[in-house]
């Protein structure tokens, strides 16, 4: 522990030193010009792709009309926001986005740590590699393909669940794509299936970074394997868990569009339990031509999302400054 602290301090003084020399070394405009030109394509791209849309947030305050265009559409003040928050949609999409994310963070973390602990216990490298390959595979599939897989299970006439599972249980068939009650479970299962293996990688790295002598000492003291996991592994993973969870909370206002759009097959009967801010913005823009409300929902997401990221980062910096984004 002391060693860590000392090297940390050493790092800091080094950084301070290099900062002062930085200033001396900083080149003139003429010397920096070639470097600026090299960076130019990237700068131009980010200006267009990221910065112009930020300026375009003003669309949320306009009564957008495709004929009149972006600049000639009439201003309408906060009307878009007023109408948005008068609808039930605003509440539903906010509730869904937040609740699903909270469940994903909790169950996702538990599942990822569970997998990581088991994988690290295997010892045999080839076996770890094979198991990990299988657990990671769903993460490499597109949401479209996952939509197909879900359809093979869920569709009413030929789906695996109705034809095999429900029949064997002696239950009636269910039209899953118009049965909202099931979807919170379906979405959580699909999300875990796709992401748990992926998320376990980080925890595996954390576990393999734990000093082996701690386990040897615990074993000498007579700790069983299970006790070692609960007394050594899990406590030492705690900082990683906290950091990753806070970062995830910073993104809690954003949802995975593919999960909520492709897996439910855009079924209107399910919107109450599948609509998130991202799907609402998409539908308003592309399907309902309600650009104003869609833009207002986008601004709502951008601004709250921004403060959540800032807050999350401030918190991480306080707890674990090495892993803060800035």
């Amino acid at each position: 522990m002391h060693g860590v602290q000392r090297s940390d301090n050493g790092g800091k003084t080094n950084m301070a030193k290099s900062k002062t020399t930085d200033k001396k070394k900083k080149g003139s405009f003429g010397k920096s010009l070639p470097l600026l030109l090299i960076a130019l394509p990237g700068i131009v791209y980010l200006l267009i792709n990221n910065y112009i849309p930020i300026m375009g947030l003003f669309l949320a305050f306009k009564d957008f009309n495709f004929m009149k265009g972006v600049f000639k559409s009439d201003w309408c003040g906060l009307d878009n926001f007023r109408f948005l928050f008068l609808t039930k949609d605003a509440w539903i999409m906010t509730r869904n986005t937040l609740l699903y994310n909270i469940v994903f963070i909790i169950l996702g973390t538990v599942a990822a740590i569970f997998l990581a602990v088991l994988l690290c216990e295997l010892g045999n490298r080839l076996r770890v590699k094979l198991f990990q390959a299988a657990l990671l595979l769903p993460n490499l599939l597109s949401w479209v393909v996952i939509g197909f897989v879900a359809y093979a299970f869920l569709n009413a006439d030929t789906g695996f669940i109705n034809n095999t599972i429900m029949r064997n249980l002696g239950r009636d068939e269910i039209a899953w794509y118009t049965f909202p009650k099931a979807w919170p479970f379906i979405l959580v299962i699909v999300n875990l299936w796709k992401n748990a293996g992926y998320q376990s990688i980080v925890y595996m790295a954390g576990i393999s970074g734990i000093d082996k002598s701690l386990y040897e000492a615990a074993a000498l003291d007579g700790a069983t394997k299970l006790q070692q996991i609960f007394q050594v592994t899990l406590p030492l993973l705690k900082p990683t868990v906290i950091t990753l969870s806070i970062m995830a909370i910073g993104r809690i206002f954003y949802s995975d569009f593919g999960l909520f759009y492709q897996v439910p097959q855009n079924s209107g009967a399910l919107f109450n339990v599948t609509q998130t801010i991202d799907t609402y913005v998409y539908r308003g823009l592309m399907e309902l031509n309600n650009v104003g409300m869609s833009a207002a929902a986008g601004v709502y997401q951008s601004i709250i999302g921004f403060f959540l990221v800032l807050g999350a980062n401030a918190l991480v910096r306080k707890l674990d400054s090495d892993n803060a984004l800035f």
Binding site: K26, G27, K31, S32, P34, L35, I38, A39, G42, Y45, L46, I48, N49, N50, I52, P53, I54, G56, L57, L59, G69, L118, L119, L122, K129, F131, A133, A134, L135, L136, P138, L140, L141, S142, W143, V144, V145, G147, F148, V149, F153, T158, F160, N162, N163, T164, Y198, I201, V202, T224, K225, L226, F257, L285, V291, A295, G298, S302, N323, L325
Partner: protein, 292 residues
């Protein structure tokens, strides 16, 4: 010792079970693609179909052009998109890593801020479609959203800072190498590991992307494989609704087994490449998670 052994065995058994559960849905998709269409309609999707057939694959070969074309678009977009992305990302990261670069801090903040604040899809969509007229061009599948991400730029910048000593660059410049030459003679060759990582993730992102197509492409000639799959599924849903409304049931559609065969063909390149890149994928996830 025996305790540790029995624990090891328990871990193996639990993981074996979880691996099977994880793979079963994909296995179902593959088996369905080899199932005889009539059997599939009568008995539904099953892990043990009553009759197998290669009809779905024959059908695809016969109806080839649409699928081959979509495959071509996907490959083109993936290769072109990834190459461009690597080029622009590394050239943007290089000056950010140079201590003597006067605008280093401003540029770093400029890149970093894109990770914190998003303008969202509405202004972005209107800009790309109304001002850049990108709809129904190949560029629509490549340029918006994915070409350069702040995350990748910072990943490369950190790699340069941690792995390329300043002395090396200074030496090259004392020898009279220009900045551009220093970049492509020294920096770029040295960045092979990080370039491998970002290529892998960017390539996967392009191959699997359907959102750009959803927003910007409705010309069938530009359908990527993901977009084609998505449209087929949408048409089935739409037709199903119509069939229910009109009470007629005789519409020619690619059969269920054909659809699943197409989905399988869509993931095939990933399955083929996967064993060779798994190691880099895992390393990349760790690097990315620790710090962008």
């Amino acid at each position: 010792m025996t305790e540790s052994k029995s624990f090891n065995r328990a871990a193996t058994i639990i993981l074996t079970f979880l691996v099977i559960v994880t793979l079963l849905p994909i296995v179902l998709l593959v088996i369905a693609s080899f199932t005889k269409e009539q059997v599939l309609i009568q008995n539904g999707y099953s892990f043990f179909p009553k009759a197998l057939s290669l009809d779905a694959y024959y059908y695809m070969v016969k109806q080839g052009t649409v699928i081959v074309r979509a495959y071509g678009v996907s490959f083109l977009v993936t290769i072109l998109g990834t190459s461009l992305s690597v080029l622009i990302t590394t050239t943007l990261a290089y000056p950010m890593a140079r201590k003597s670069f006067r605008y280093r801090n401003i540029l770093s903040f400029f890149v970093f801020f894109t990770m914190l604040f998003h303008g969202g899809i509405v202004p972005s969509y209107i800009m790309w479609s109304r001002f850049f007229h990108i709809k129904n061009t190949l560029w629509a599948l490549i340029v918006p959203h994915y070409l350069v991400t702040g995350f990748n730029v910072i990943l490369v910048k950190n790699f340069y800072q941690n792995n390329v000593p300043d002395a090396l660059i200074e030496a090259a410049q004392i020898d009279g190498a220009s900045e551009l030459k220093t970049f492509y003679k020294i920096m770029f060759p040295l960045s092979r590991p990080v370039v491998a990582t970002i290529s892998l993730f960017t390539g996967l992102c392009y191959w699997n992307d359907w959102t750009n197509g959803l927003y910007y492409v409705d010309n069938e000639k530009l359908f990527s494989i993901q977009l084609l799959l998505m449209k087929i599924m949408n048409n089935i849903q739409a037709l199903r609704a119509n069939i229910v409304l009109m009470g007629t049931g005789t519409v020619e559609l690619p059969g269920s087994s054909v659809r699943m065969a197409m989905a399988f063909v869509g993931i095939l390149p990933i399955l083929i490449v996967y064993p060779f890149v798994q190691k880099y994928l895992v390393e990349g996830v760790v690097i990315g998670a620790v710090k962008g």
